[in-house]
Amino acid sequence: MRQRARNVRLIGWTLLLEAWRRREVYAIVLVTTALLIGLRCVRFFEMEELGKFYREISLKVMNVTTAATVILLAARQLPREFSDRTIYPLLAKPVARLEFLLGKFLGVMGAGVFCYALFMAVFLVGSVTLEAPMNMALFAQSVYLQVLSLGVLASLVFLLSMLLNADAAVTIAAILYLTSQVFMTLMSYLYDYVSRTGRCALLAMHFIVPQLTLFDPSAKTVHSVSRTVVGDAIEQTVVWRALPAGTLLQLTVYAAVYAILYLGAAHLLFRRRPL
């Protein structure tokens, strides 16, 4: 068991090192960092509640770009191992194919979390000077949930990359991500207005495509505290409290189930795949 964990760690670390030296995510990291800094510097018509505006946009940008990083990295891993033939010497070592897959997953997650942490640092530095209170417990929870959603997304992309080439996997993953972000919220409204077949299709989509919006309480985080001026004093009211532990646990289980299902399916395809 210890050796298995060591194998997974070694493969994950190699992925991180290679991604860093290949400068694969440099562009995304640089553009996002510049965007976050730029957003902080702009004074939007001396708006009140500027802090909330900055935070809302920044969190959206961070979530989307981290997801893009994870999609790009995860989609390339397996196809590149096959095309570069680096998989042969690696799998000739006493490494199970599942360990290989988990190592790649760990590496992609490491890169995603690293990017997110970097963006978060820039965001927090920009945020600290703004006079807009925020429920920090809810904020910490939203960071945790974003990491969970990255795990679901990475495992989905690994499954897609077993079925498709890297470019197609990126495209389909991006479409599914956007679908999950935009379309899924409309689904409940649409459900009442479509035919029986349409309902079946919507229901199937509901279960196949993970509901990533569940992992994004950024709007609640930003608007978690409201300020009202009462006479000379400013009164703060907590609008959105931190999520109950039970909800957090349910979301963790939800993410784990989807990640295990996607990775399990990817493993089923990979374990009998001729190299």
Partner: protein
């Protein structure tokens, strides 16, 4: 060469000069069938191949292009799955973690992570092969020196030439000091100096009792290293003979002519 004694080579008596080897079977292949699926039909690359490689033996696996050498070796490593037949390595089914623990493998086309350094790659493969980090720290410089890469160990692999990558491939195959070495196309991509160095490494390992199984197009290479030769043609074993017996059969005509006449004989039988 200082590549160290293969661990746990047991009672396998080193054999050379065509002497029969007394060790038990390391590789056993029985009625192996390998098929590739194309869109319309199945193509049989290997049909009913059987052979055995004993402990301490050095066996050459020869045959023309498309004979089924690489398919057999890929099946041995668990990269592809036989349509029929049985393969065991050290008594374990081929491709399992247990079977790979005691094998060092060099692929036909050696490509390694281009953005790792030579030393990092060996550290990765050594770690995966369960070599303790302390042993790796001592072994990696020794191996790099043995394959002539000690000067460039700290360079990124993308800056290596093809020959240097092949040498690195040899080093990674030896990183765990395995009991059995499986090389697919032994000296492909190596210049004459590289071939000479590789031959020296292999002769040293052979003298220490390692089991070596390699495919090659080069008959003089087979002649210089092997105790036994297995030839394969159109997916079937053409002959499986000790080198001495093959040389006797070839006589003055030489191995190449002998091999060609055996192929012609087989074609005639068809």
């Amino acid at each position: 060469m200082g590549t160290g004694e293969p661990s746990g080579s047991g009672g396998g008596a080193p054999c050379g000069g065509g002497a029969p080897c007394g060790g038990g079977p390391v590789i056993e292949v029985e009625d192996l069938v390998v098929e590739y699926k194309t869109r319309r039909r199945k193509v049989r690359a290997v049909q009913g191949v059987s052979f055995r490689v004993n402990e301490g033996e050095c066996v050459g696996f020869i045959g023309p292009n498309g004979a089924g050498k690489s398919s057999t070796i890929k099946a041995l490593m668990g990269f592809i799955f036989p349509a029929a037949g049985r393969i065991t390595v050290f008594g374990q089914p081929a491709g399992t973690v247990e079977s790979k623990l005691r094998i060092g493998y060099l692929p036909e086309v050696a490509l390694y992570y281009p953005f790792l350094k030579g030393t990092e790659l060996l550290k990765l493969y050594g770690g995966l092969h369960r070599v303790p980090p302390r042993t790796l720290r001592e072994r990696i410089p020794r191996l790099l020196e043995a394959v002539g890469l000690s000067e460039v160990g700290d360079r990124l692999i993308r800056n290596y030439s093809k020959g240097m990558q092949q040498r690195l491939g040899i080093a990674q195959a030896l990183i765990a000091e395995p009991e059995c070495l499986i090389f697919d196309e032994l000296s492909s991509g190596l210049d004459p100096v590289g071939r000479h160095d590789l031959r020296r490494v292999l002769l040293d390992l052979k003298a220490r009792g390692a089991t070596i199984f390699f495919s090659s197009h080069e008959l003089h290479e087979v002649e210089a290293l092997c105790d036994r030769v297995i030839a394969i043609h159109k997916g079937e074993v053409l002959f499986d003979l000790p080198l001495a017996a093959l040389k006797e059969r070839a006589g003055a005509a030489g191995l190449e002519e002998c091999f060609m006449s055996l192929i012609r004989e087989r074609e005639g039988e068809r």
